[in-house]
Point group: C2
Chain length 347, copies 2
DNA sequence: TTGTATGCGTTATCAT
DNA sequence: ATGATAACGCATACAA
């Protein structure tokens, strides 16, 4: 492996600067700059002259100069735990759509759920190489986020921590889980289990609350052995479904906190010889592509991923460009998508 | 929606510069710079004095200044078609591992397979805001890539176009498909179909070649009606599997050019009342998480995703930092992973 | 060991 | 309508 520490052999074939364009066009750098930035106060003739040189030599402005001068980079950081989850694709698409409207670039950086790594990435912001950041599921503490929010523009997306000086966009996780459980109940299921995500995640506990509220509301006793926590992937979902099915009194319905978990569940249920949705029903979460890849296709709680991204970026752009910061907590609507892994509702 | 076009209200709360640190520490900016960059020629006492101020005021250097001065950003762009595919997660992880060794940041940008968008993103490189780029499946032409390669450091990963002045890292797609077909044959299947990806993609035709070579080698006649092209997602895989199964003489084995396609395939096969792998066998491609999520679990062609990313980044870093550019074409080993969607090999 | 001064490429203010 | 020129924040060659 190479051992040239960063500042290795530099070779930068000195590329053209605004100075040379000016010289070649026989004008001043100021004029060239005006042309490049579309200033109206430059004679058409001059503009053409400059543009001709720019085209001819394929001049590319060095934006480091511009950014330094303007102290603005038109770049936004998106910090996300990982990329091996189709969930993020749609969110990022929404973010990019909004960003492009105002000419921002969005740069995506995976944190691997590593606190140190996330802090390193925040350095990009602190070092003024980006104008703002959207963080999907932060590993920082609420205090750290609040502190950062005082100096920089930050918005949280999907996975929210209670931090001041911060915007956030997500669904109502408590209500979403409630709605899913109610869906089970209205379809006639009463032995309802829950397989959650990591306990460290805020949405896990919110959804658990919704689960419990629904049970309570319909006078269904809560059973501790029917509540499991997973690490979020399908193997763990399968494992825990196996545990649930092995109980002396197994559940007839399982709410999973991600589509991945749900798929693991579905596989385990079928391997144990049960049929879905008649013996056991399953509901997933997120409505990712995985939900439609399962067989039977998953009933799941849809998250408006594109919109979550779009709105998050919209708030960020507002706070980056406006003096009167808004520190809002936006909640978007979720929706229960009925597919094959639950029985039809009884009217 | 806000209407503050980028250069909107600026509010940058003037943050501390190296000048002020120098003043507060009672030294010159040069000394502060030396301390910050770990220069050995500064007295321990002075260093402490400077560091004290830095800590006290949480001074964060503006890297735009440094980058401009050094004309080096320590940033690498990774252009990828989309993120809604777990395939990229592992690749990026490998890239990041290598990048961190030399202190590079990797910034990921989805191109949505849009040529214009990809060109826009290449501007980041042209505008000297990144030192190099790795592109996973480019939409540019071979000429465009070659031209860019003359001026900038570029490496292609996984999906390769024949472009000069470019490094590339991938598996041997032709051989990989060949091996998969041979696997079918050695397990006793002889009616072998292929569901490819988009025809525009180079790997699609390479793999098709491998498929044909294997058939030829084992004296199995090629049948046009058993060769299908999909757009790469599972819905299309299911659709085409349905078409294949509806043939008067349907295949008994289907090689799919992605695990997503293969899952669609598996679902369609089972819905048509056939069993896997006895009636119909399936092999996927990539060995993504999806392959283990399927039921039955997919036999698939493993791509060394982490290593592909690692090696790609390694080449890029070499070419960014060294004067003697290498324009290599690296091929990493693939591996056929046997799971449940094919019969065991007959000895 | 430290300081002075110059330049990196650009924008923007002030003249003209 | 255009041109000098001073920043922007930092690193470094050269002096001291």
């Amino acid at each position: 492996m190479t051992e040239l520490r960063g500042k290795g052999r530099k070779q930068m074939q000195k590329s053209m600067t605004i100075q040379e364009v000016a010289r070649l066009a026989g004008v001043s750098v100021a004029t060239v700059s005006r042309v490049l930035n579309g200033s109206p106060l430059v004679k058409a003739k001059t503009r053409e002259k400059v543009l001709a040189i720019v085209e001819k030599f394929d001049y590319q402005p060095n934006l480091l100069g511009r950014d330094l001068r303007r102290s603005e980079t038109m770049k936004v950081l998106v910090l996300t735990s990982s990329l091996d989850h189709s969930f993020f694709g749609d969110i990022v698409t929404g973010m990019e759509a909004r960003a492009q409207e105002d000419g921002y670039y969005v740069l995506i950086c995976p944190t691997s759920n590593n606190v140190e790594r996330e802090k390193e990435l925040f350095q990009i912001l602190k070092n003024r190489l980006a104008d703002g950041v959207i963080v999907i599921s932060s590993t920082l503490t609420e205090e750290e986020l609040s502190a950062l929010g005082q100096k920089y523009s930050i918005v949280q997306c999907c996975e929210i921590k209670e931090a001041s000086h911060t915007c956030s966009v997500s669904i109502d996780d408590e209500q979403a889980a409630y709605d899913a459980v109610r869906h089970f109940i209205e379809a006639g299921y009463r032995k309802i289990a829950l397989i959650g995500g990591p306990t460290a995640i805020k949405s896990t506990s919110l959804r658990e609350q919704g689960y419990r509220r629904a049970l309570q509301q319909y006078d269904i006793p809560y059973r501790e052995e029917w509540l499991k926590y997973s690490n979020g992937n399908h193997e763990d979902g399968a494992r825990l479904a196996g545990v649930l099915l092995g109980l002396s009194d197994p559940p007839s319905a399982i709410l999973c906190m991600s589509d991945s978990i749900a798929i693991g569940c579905v596989n385990a249920i079928q391997r144990n010889g049960f049929t879905i949705p008649d013996d056991v029903a399953v509901i997933g979460f997120d409505n990712t592509r995985e939900a439609t890849m399962a067989s039977p296709a998953l009933t799941t709680v849809h998250q408006p991923k594109y919109d979550l991204g779009y709105v998050a970026m919209n708030l960020l752009i507002h706070n980056m460009t406006s003096a009167d910061k808004r520190y809002e907590k936006v909640t978007l609507a979720h929706e229960l998508i009925e597919r094959e892994s639950t029985r039809a509702q009884v009217k």
